[in-house]
Amino acid sequence: MSNPNDTSNDLPRGGLRVENLTCTRGGVPVLRGVSFKLSPGVAVLLRGPNGVGKTTLLRTIAGLQPPLRGSIEMNGAIAWAGHADAIKGTLSVSENLRFWASVHGVGRRGISATLDHAIESFYLGDLTTRPAQSLSAGQKRRLGLARLCVTGAEIWALDEPTVSLDADSVTLFADAVRAHCAAGGSALIATHIDPGIEAATLDLQPYSTRGDLNDAPSGGDEDDDETPLGDDVFLSEGSL
């Protein structure tokens, strides 16, 4: 198991490398032998049926739970956005964003520019003084995604980011991800819909340990580290 903040390797800033990862949910392994590499400037969509372990993989990569086996290396900070938006209802939209910006070390001087950028990216301009609890579900989600913009993290780990967003907001989200990638960041996105981003796709189904999800069982041996897609899946600009 490696230190997730280890930068003493050949990874570029914003890069992520996952090797032979086995992750568990509730103590049971759900994914085995996941290996891929994420280069800066690339977004990857994680695909797979419900229960295949998309959230589990993202939580493991984000450091919220330890992997059972394998290593995760990254160069840069990671920002996590899960099903819950990490937004406080009694605070206003800008207070919420300001808090997350300062937690992520945005200095006093750069904070208003960072906030303005995030608010503009997700069309929250008319809502800045409103308490977050009075927002609609879609507006809350937009605020939760705007939080990512103020973190300044290079790697985004997003779990179902487009839930409760309308078509226009999905476009806003796609633009934000594109801008993030253009600035040298990378993103891992678990989703069921096509958000309209030029992204590589990683299907998790072949790594699943569950037979009922796996159309073509691959050995099923506990110690079998072979992955159906070969040793390493490289996801980089060249593979797009």
Partner: protein, 218 residues
């Protein structure tokens, strides 16, 4: 870290934040006891430090589960674990925020309630001196307990059972310190014990709380 403290205080003092809950409970306990015991001023004076301390402890216990449960539910805790801040620092800041909205106002109002309980005037200083560090240790110990039970639905009972035994030393020395002047004893010795407990809790429990949070978020 400071922005986390400011945010916690801001949330607590807004509508529905529950900042006044502990204080209101403390007031009710201390006001109801003289009504229940009756107008025996000697008896009231004797039990006053104990009543004030038990009231403070229960008021603290009542508000403990808010420390992490709300942040756990809305995903803030997940995001804080990923953020570049030490988790033990988060636990420490949140316990201090809890103390600032519960323990500190409760300490400040305690002389007023001492009057209600016929506490002798010379006891006020030591009452406040014992409550000030004592309630801080109650908040820090309680935050550790809250971190242990953060994923448990309706974990209030479990939290109380876990935390109450840990509160006993603080209560014993705190109440002893507050009442020793009336019993013609030196309040300094229990006060030093109280300070030691508080400093020990401040030094070790935030780290333990952080480890408990990590285990519970899995």
């Amino acid at each position: 870290m400071i922005s986390l403290l400011i945010r916690d205080l801001r949330i607590a003092t807004r509508a529905g934040g529950g900042a006044g809950l502990g204080l209101a409970f403390f007031l009710m306990v201390v006001i109801l006891v003289p009504l229940g015991v009756g107008p025996e001023t000697q008896l009231l004076a004797r039990i006053a430090p104990g009543i004030l301390w038990v009231g403070a402890l229960l008021a603290c216990l009542l508000t403990l589960d808010r420390i992490f449960a709300l942040d756990f539910e809305d995903g803030t805790l997940d995001a804080l674990v990923c953020a570049p801040v030490p988790l033990s620092g988060v636990v420490l800041v949140k316990s201090i925020a809890h103390w600032l909205v519960t323990g500190l106002p409760l300490t400040l109002i305690s002389p007023l309630l001492g009057v209600l309980l016929n506490l002798p005037a010379e006891g006020y200083l030591w009452l406040m001196a014992s409550l000030l560090p004592g309630t801080l240790s109650l908040s820090v110990i309680g935050a550790f307990g809250a971190a242990l039970t953060v994923g448990v639905r309706r974990g209030g009972l479990l939290l109380s059972l876990l935390v109450l035994p840990l509160y006993v030393p603080t209560l014993v020395f705190g109440a002893e310190c507050a009442s020793s002047l009336m019993n013609f004893k030196d309040p300094l010795a229990p006060f030093i014990f109280l300070i030691v407990i508080t400093l020990g809790a401040l030094a070790f429990l935030p780290m333990a709380g952080a480890a408990a949070l990590r285990a519970n978020l899995r």
